[in-house]
Symmetry: C2
Subunit: 319 residues, 2 copies
């Protein structure tokens, strides 16, 4: 019998999961629509039964544990707490609930921490002890590894670099505070930047023909790669703010690398080149040329499942 684990990524709309072996091979995958389960107990029953089915479809494998990445998840307590994007309100003891269903160890953390664990076990950080993963999606998540260990902090919620204040008194963030990094360096922040630049600049831009409510980060990064002046300047502005967040992270923990993951990182050199430029410009002298800015080494397509799987493999010392 070979030990395998299940990696689960719970999103506001969809939940994806897969069986993963110690080498990081995804043996089987499945998904559920998160929004089909307004009651968490129904969700846990469905998830448990799906995972058991995946295991029994394989020959000679045994489930050793389940790793779960979820929004507003607390590693120490195994909970999801007051997640605004999920129907399950209050404090949900998810790890305990799933453990009762599947009968093996279960760990929970937020999706960015899972991404960082995936990077460490299966990706570009295999030989690194100190690195940070920034997930540039609708928001900005972060997973921080120091001295080979994930940073959870006193509360279990550490690694909220997206809520660093980079512009005091700046844009209102989803958290209702002002000037958070996430309000600038994320897909939604990039869209807001284009609106700001359209008001300031006079150059032609195809982005002026798209209603702001329908504008996507992908359209902006495609326009940037074609040289659209508003889009190019929006990427520069985003990279500068991200540069401040990165420099502030570097002076704190002195990582070897910062990995950029998620939708915005898919823009490639349109975002990496200006981020590297601003890092060079703003970095503190002690850390000059000590930090690499890298794309994720985990395939985007099943990165979430691999990250959650890495979390439990690491916990069980199987990775």
């Amino acid at each position: 019998m070979e030990n395998v684990v299940a990696g689960v990524d719970i999103g506001g709309t969809n939940t994806v999961f897969g069986l993963v072996d110690k080498a990081g091979k995804v043996l089987a995958e499945g998904h559920l629509k998160t929004t089909d389960y307004p009651e968490v107990s129904d969700f846990v029953r469905a998830l448990g039964s799906e995972i058991k089915n995946l295991v029994s479809d394989q020959s000679n494998v045994e489930l050793a544990g389940v790793g779960i990445g979820a929004p507003d998840a607390n590693y120490h307590r195994g909970t999801i707490e007051h997640a605004p994007n999920l129907a399950w309100k209050g404090i949900v003891p998810l790890a305990d609930l799933v453990k009762k269903e599947v009968g093996v160890p279960v760990v929970v953390t937020n999706d960015a921490n899972a991404a960082a664990m995936g990077e460490m076990i299966f990706g570009g950080a295999k030989n690194m002890k100190n690195f940070i993963v920034l997930t540039l999606g609708t928001g900005l998540g972060s997973g921080i590894v120091i001295d080979g260990k994930m940073v959870y902090g006193h509360t279990g919620f550490a690694g909220e670099v997206g809520h660093m204040t980079v512009v005091p008194g700046g844009r209102v963030c989803g958290c209702e505070r002002k000037g958070c990094l996430e309000a600038y360096a994320s897909a939604s922040g990039l869209v807001r930047t284009v609106s700001e630049l359209i008001s300031v600049m006079r150059e032609d831009s195809i982005l002026r023909d798209i209603p702001p409510s329908q504008l996507t980060a992908k359209q902006i990064s495609e326009a940037a790669s074609k040289g659209d002046p508003v889009a190019v300047r929006a990427m520069e502005y985003t990279a500068e703010k991200l540069g401040f967040g990165i420099v502030n992270s570097i002076v704190f923990s002195s990582p070897e690398a910062i990995f950029l993951f998620g939708g915005l990182a898919q823009a490639g050199e349109a975002i990496f080149a200006p981020v590297r430029k601003y890092l060079q410009q703003y970095n503190y002298i002690l850390f000059k040329d000590t930090v690499k800015i890298l794309p994720s080494g985990v395939p985007e397509s099943n990165g979430a499942v691999l990250g959650s799987a890495a979390l439990i493999l690491n916990e069980l010392s199987l990775g």
Copy 2:
């Protein structure tokens, strides 16, 4: 024979050192004038001989190791590197030099890391796994402990919170970058803030009678405690900037406490009260009421010696 260690604090002007036992009792102390030794080899010989004399003056003690706190010190490499406030230029292999002189293990780190180690072994962080010490002196130093371990990072220089950018495009810092926390929340930053406020405010203030070049943080905090309006506002302004630095640190590593150490912290409630107020105001909701702002639990008078001693006690697992 009882094992003791030597704690050494190297400053730009003075070096203080002492013999410390495992319980944190300072058995004997001494000092050297750092500036008397333009050659590091002479300094190391003098320091070694002073330490050996202190040991031989005690009965039944044996030197187990030496911990050194110094500016621009690198823990990984045991070096002092390009310290602008010392006569010893370039990269000085201090740990190796001292080890050759005294024949016992030697560790080196910066003074703020030593202060944090002192807090963990002898001070207010004895039962904490996650905390940060901010040393508010002429500059702003920081020592970060995560999961019970000092954070040195990939380079060995981690913990430079004073060089976090809190005001993009703000005051020029000693490091020549703009808007660093240290340019606001330090003794020198406080003096700069008074000059700024004197230009802006019309209220009477005894601080208007002191030449800016002679103004000290102590005078300002004394004036604040008497209700001087410029001084009170300067403390508020300093606390607000420090609040941003603290909140940015909290979202990163989620500590249980932030200890304020050094001259500016001696102002007591004049600085603690507004720092707590701004923390409450600016803190991210996940971390609300999870972080204590505390004065150091290590006596200021021999805090530097105790911190450096704690560093080597921890290294030798004697603490």
